[in-house]
Point group: D3
Chain length 249, copies 6
């Protein structure tokens, strides 16, 4: 589903929650007992703060930036849409480092980071592998990576899905946190957030029936993936190599 600004209103709350949680889990796994380097993200006066790199400046990346800055880390966001970089600069001011996304920038920043947060989302498609295995090998021992995009396959080459039971594994001395369904850990907050977002659509579906509701609201219609056995969402059809039929009432 989409909204008037091209956003994804139903995914947004979950992306917000995951983005905010990513910093909290990153800070936790930087503790020595969790396999991390024993670094406090914000440092203390006289001792340098940790370096956080957030790849992707969409909803989840922006929320990760916000929490990482709240914990007083040194934060850089990498983003390929220049207008979005401007907006992030406007929102966070000069305390946030903004970098245009190139392979060189990613490599330079990731290999010097204490915490890397992968927040790349291509709606309906697999996430691109922006951090390669070679880059991970070059990272500091005890660094932490959190892959928010794991539900779309992950944006680190070394990512593989984990669960809340055993959220991390260590590869090349780097802690990987790749829990699918991150927002489940804060179910109470997530449920309220989702209710706020779905209520208007639920009311529309209940009042009008699905056919009319979808016909009236192109954004709701964009939320349809499969309809009567046909693929109604183009990006999914493309990424699966199946025919795209669109939607007709």
């Amino acid at each position: 589903m989409t909204d008037a600004r091209g956003g994804l209103p139903l995914l947004s709350p979950m992306s917000e929650v995951a983005g905010r949680m990513s910093v909290q889990v990153g800070a936790h796994h930087l503790e020595k007992e969790q396999g991390g380097a024993g670094i406090l993200l914000g440092g203390v006066p006289g001792v340098p703060a940790g370096d956080v790199v957030v790849i992707g400046g969409g909803v989840s990346g922006t929320n990760a930036v916000r929490m990482a800055m709240g914990l007083e880390a040194r934060v850089t966001v990498i983003e390929k849409n220049l207008q979005r970089l401007y907006d992030l600069d406007l929102q966070f001011g000069p305390s946030l480092n903004t970098r245009y996304s190139t392979v060189e920038a990613i490599e330079e920043l990731v290999t010097n980071a204490d915490l890397v947060i992968g927040a790349v989302l291509v709606p309906g498609a697999a996430a691109p592998k922006l951090v390669t295995r070679e880059m991970v090998k070059a990272m500091r021992p005890g660094a932490v990576m959190v892959d928010i995009a794991i539900d779309q396959g992950g944006c680190f080459e070394t990512s593989r899905p984990t669960s809340h039971d055993k959220p991390t594994y260590i590869e090349h001395d780097v802690v990987h946190y790749c829990v699918t369904n991150m927002p489940g850990a804060v179910a109470r907050t997530s449920t309220f957030a989702l209710n706020n977002a779905t209520l208007p659509f639920v009311l529309a579906l209940a009042d009008k029936g699905y056919a009319k509701a979808l016909g009236d609201d192109p954004h709701l219609q964009h939320g349809l993936n499969v309809h009567k056995g046909d693929l109604a969402y183009k990006a999914v059809a493309d990424s699966l190599g199946l025919p795209y039929t669109g939607w007709t009432a």
Copy 2:
């Protein structure tokens, strides 16, 4: 040891680290898998943030406040020194709720909190039990308490020391985190912080010998607890019921 403002320069860095960590561990244990209520401290737009109560506005309390506000929780600090309340108000502005410490204020705030941080430090003496068992019983299930004062005996009646191996236990449905030596989890940051603080004193002791160094610097002298079998620190002597001898070269 003391400094010219009556502070404790060697404990300060560890109090800073513990104060900052307390929010990070509090956020972590509010996750469902850790026994918490499944609440994200900062909420998301449209969903209320969690309520954090910090008892004590000294070094560790102030650092806890700072991180809790950074994670966008609703934060109240309770402090009995009115001048200190003014300073906190000056530092954090109206976003921080400041409350004068009375039994009523503590009870009202603690029983409505999602996260309570005990940050009461009476130099050289046992911490007062400001949160009673009755108050803990009245808290919400899944709330979290972090007792930074556990090294001085703790400031919650229900606190008992834990370790980084098994940092929490649940009592009256409330998660208790009472790890002694919290800063050990971020050893890298803590070590740098401690080095910065001790270096000037170490240099003085090495250059001058202990007798002259202590004679020259009353703050260093205040750091002496036992000297040639006698108790040289008054508060310790008082709390142990032993005679206080002071220090003479």
Copy 3:
């Protein structure tokens, strides 16, 4: 009249002025001599600030929020458009509580407030009565309500229009301020604000004549309510139950 973002450029300045004034009049009427509870909105360090609830996050609501936060009250805004809630969160940060609009949220917040500001505007239509008489009865004695929407009929069930001569009345022990034409009290500021907003349209009308000016500018055209005896504005026609004719040169 509308602008390219769907705003109302000529009403905006008056909504800004009314929104900002609403907090100033609210603070004034919380004084004991005016019938209020004798509460200072911002409190002082150690004493809780007053609770302000702003219903509606449009132009006047946003300006009310801004002034209430400026006076250091604890402020919550209630809004039914989730995207607008996100924007308010972005603008004001975590110091502002944002709540999605439901009957339950309104009831909970209004009955615990010291000052309620009604800032609901449905262009060209009557304001909905979001605060019921029952809610008003449950409010604290000496609380204050300011109904900015009074020119559209008011958004509290207990509102009835007042004037600058006698701006308030007390009902159910709650002070009601329902002055129509609030901006008149700060005529000097209002006049400048209105001049800035109308100048471009006035110049267009003067230069081109009304027919061409309206033909050239759809936003100006939207400002037309009645044209040659016909209703040219759909929402007005609908709310009066009269036929809507649109506009043709």
Copy 4:
């Protein structure tokens, strides 16, 4: 009474309340119906904000500054203690104009102000008349003056005490607000504030008796004006031309 920083701990809360209220009453009386110029303190975008001048940067002046900046006025504080000017600059940043107190600075700023707040307090002595009648004559019609120092005789030459019943009078076309006991209007907030400040002293007096309590605490002792018929406070003795006896148990 004094505190360790030379402050006045029992007067402080009332000075805070009065300082904060002074802006609220100033804004109110700038409304046309109250005799003011019809100016909204914060203006709106595109329309200049009102000019507020606060004379004196102590407790009440600082609180006035804070509220006036909160309402988005353009604020200048005049102060004769350069160190205090630095502190105010540190607290409020470049948005606050700070001016060293000279007759020229006062004249220039007062005659161009929309709201002048007199916040000059000389402990135990009469307030100096820093704003002369000539300056008031040169002010804009409809400007407002609030004299917080009225309890010490006022710091404007044209001030005379008023009450909450009839708080203002107009002289030289300028609205004068000179209510003695301003904090009485927000009695609820004031009472809590005063309780917080007096509680430690009350407990000391009750526990120890007045003689021992005064003997133990030089700050409490400074609060004594008359003791067994003798004047125990030097500034009062001096300003009354009576002998000063000090205090002895």
Copy 5:
């Protein structure tokens, strides 16, 4: 070239750089040795800051505002688009004075300024002469003017192009800085900024050839001024009085 919001993506980085530099060169030329009045833009506590007036609130004007506020000057921006004034107010808050653009406002503000920055850009057309010679004559001796619009002919009547070799001249006792190609002075920063902005278009041209690239992307197409001898950009054609042919593959 344009972008989806009507911006000019390739000019934007250069406008940003020029806007930011304008304050830096303004501050430099206010030094006595450079012919200026010997004023430090931000003043110091107790001494008034300098007055900066920025004419035009587009990309370069906004960046100038940002740096001037960063240096703690008193800044006013003049803008004729009311919506843009609102946005600037939102971005910078009450510390920025925003004024609607009228001849009177420009005259009043310019003649009282220490530094005037001309940041008016009409895409593809000559800049309007908003500051007249008469206004310049009325300015303070030693004031500084920086004309960012000099590449479009300048927006001060007294402007004439200069170079980095001899960047200023003095006319009517006012220092004029009118260097064309300002961003050349910080070539390293400018080059990176331009690369970020052009990369996507360069890739499109390289991959697809110019005809298809222009056909696919209307924004790229808007960047075309002359095509096969014809004028393909309307504003340029209009300002040169030549026929406009548009573009066809």
Copy 6:
């Protein structure tokens, strides 16, 4: 001369001015035409900002930090007094990097900086040479150094005094700005600042004569270097190897 906090009230205003100017001259000399690397201190969104290192966190260093952060550079301050580091952290928040002063920290930071500001002041004694020639050799070509301590001999090994006529020279490809009497360039601001600071002392000297004025005010007395042929200031006497006589009326 000293003040009650151990500060230097007459030097403070000049240190403030020099500290603020140091960033302005640094930014200017980073321009290519001035020999610099062609870097804009604040960068633009997507392009990294310049790195500024301020050595010394006293009055001039703090003012340099403030302006450098205002221009949106990435700023690190190096300071050996831990309490002062805490105060700077409190004042500027996490956007400022604070580092405890060690030879290693200075070397690491200086050799990676675009602009180094030397702001080390030891009252009455020669400044220590904290930046060695070897460090300067390791800096980037086109980097800029500003030595505010040049009046006390400079704190870079490669510093030699310059004047406003020819303010810089290049050594090891690094631009050195070592103008003595920097505040002279903004004479107007400096004069007002100095007047504010000296007025109280001038009045005391005029009213009482120098002997009584010095006898009454130990801070004024500290300002005396030579009295009737004897050295009355200990640090000067020590650094010159001459006997110290103190002061007696």
